[in-house]
Amino acid sequence: MSQYDDEKARPSHIDSLYAADPIAADRRLWGRETSALSRRGFLKKSGLVAMSAAIGAAIPFSRFMPAGLIPAAFAAEGSSAQIEGKEGLIVLNDRPLNAETPAHLLDDSITPSKYMFVRNNGVPPTTIDVDNWTLEIAGESCVNPLSFSIAELKQRFEEVTLQLQLECGGNGRSEFVPAASGNQWTTGAIGCPTFTGVRLRDVLNYCGVGADAEYVGYYGADTHLSGDADRDPISRGVPIAKALERESLIAWQMNGEDLPLQNGYPLRLVCAGWPASVSGKWLNKLVVRNQTHDGEKMAAPSYSVPKQPVAPGSRVPNEDMKIIESMPVKSLITFPKSGVTHDLRERLIVRGHAWAGDDQVSGVYLSIDFGATWLPTGVNSPANRLAWQDFSGWLQFPQPGYYEIWARAMDTQGRSQPLVIPGWNPRGYLNNTAHRIAVQVV
């Protein structure tokens, strides 16, 4: 439980208890017993009192409540307690695991590992022998195919630590109408921890990059959801120019510790500023290709958008789609938490982060009047290229009432965040609408 979870004390593992035996879970968590005949209601008042206290509200129709029912107030919060090494994440999908971070938990300048979102396409490896883990470098445009243990990578190449932002290409998908297929991310599939590893280009150049090299593709040790060993869950990558940038890493640490299992332990690729799916996890093979990599989820409609703008709800043939590269400019308000009550007499400090794919952020602006007027904020330089940038400002309100704080970032080329949902696309990628939070001023 974090300091922010003030609304209600949510028992951990509630879902697994109910899954094992709903009636026993009723009894164990709340002391609840129901009539054997109707299987509804509460035989003893103490059970109802316990459940109401946990929800934080009375249950007017408690007499109709079926036995073994998880209160929706809990079910809606997902099962964050069950992800090892993570805290407070909202689970969108448990198979494959997809979990995002509420905005107010992303307040740190450097995202703590426990708050780094999880987007899995398959099943993570279950047995990992880190000492015998090998990374194979191959492909038709690799001059000398070689394999490295993690110890050899550490020994042979310069170690680098960089702060790098990773955002899922589908972050914000939930706002598209008509609905776009896939996990319905809101704003939390973003994070900017530090990664330690070696430069991808040092390793590739050591093996020799052919003159005809076009693309670098990855393979990982995760397995396909169907259990079919011949299928890869995902095998994407980046064009050779992006791969050879000095910020593209083969990393074994996040924030100075081993990578969390769900974020790719023991080895992953990090090519920041592009959809995070290019940064392969549980990395065990890289291929230098003489063509655009054709691994799983490289082809449209995956991680692709229409070449030309289309009307909402359009059917777009695959050949009219292009692969997403750099992500658009975006920002997130991480303090205060949306819904906060604020004293009219006080200034309200507002903080957050902004990022702009391969580019940099030139300014972040705040509005309290639904976008009619904008105030500039102070924006820090990034810790290094492809790290997000912190912004902060303060606001004062003219009178009590309901306000929304909107944040809008601009990149160095003058592109800024739209105030309505940008270009609809079939799979709901690249939603960089201005972030909004609610404030009650009293």
């Binding site: 198979r95 494959p96 939930s174 706002e175 609905a179 809101t186 959801l225 079919d228 949902i421 972030h435």
Partner: protein
């Protein structure tokens, strides 16, 4: 009882146990999606690989669901299904999730 029979009984028991274990997990995730008619179809196709929440967080028209089900077969390793099965899955998905309204998209 011959050794042969014992072997068969044992094998049956082991299979039954493994089956029971896998079904209880699948049943739990499928319940969010469908109960009663069509449940077995969904377990054999959709929730065999992914959890029901991948379906229930989504919405769309009948056509959109049909495209999704076909994409699952074309690109994501879902076994090929006949037209009747497809219609069952589409109907259940539609019934469970409804159509997205603009106000549902609010943060």
């Amino acid at each position: 009882m011959t050794a042969m029979t014992i072997k068969i009984v044992l094998r049956f028991l082991l299979t039954a146990c493994a089956f029971a274990a896998s079904v209880s997990v699948a049943a739990q995730t499928t319940d969010a999606f469908v109960q009663g008619e069509g449940k077995e179809t969904v377990q054999a196709t959709c929730t065999r690989c992914h959890s029901a929440t991948l379906v229930t967080q989504n919405s769309g028209s009948e056509d959109v669901w049909r495209i999704r089900v076909r994409l699952m077969q074309a690109s994501h390793g879902m076994p090929a299904i006949d037209e009747a099965t497809e219609s069952t899955i589409v109907a259940i998905s539609l019934h469970t999730t409804g159509k997205k309204r603009r106000q549902d998209a609010r943060r």
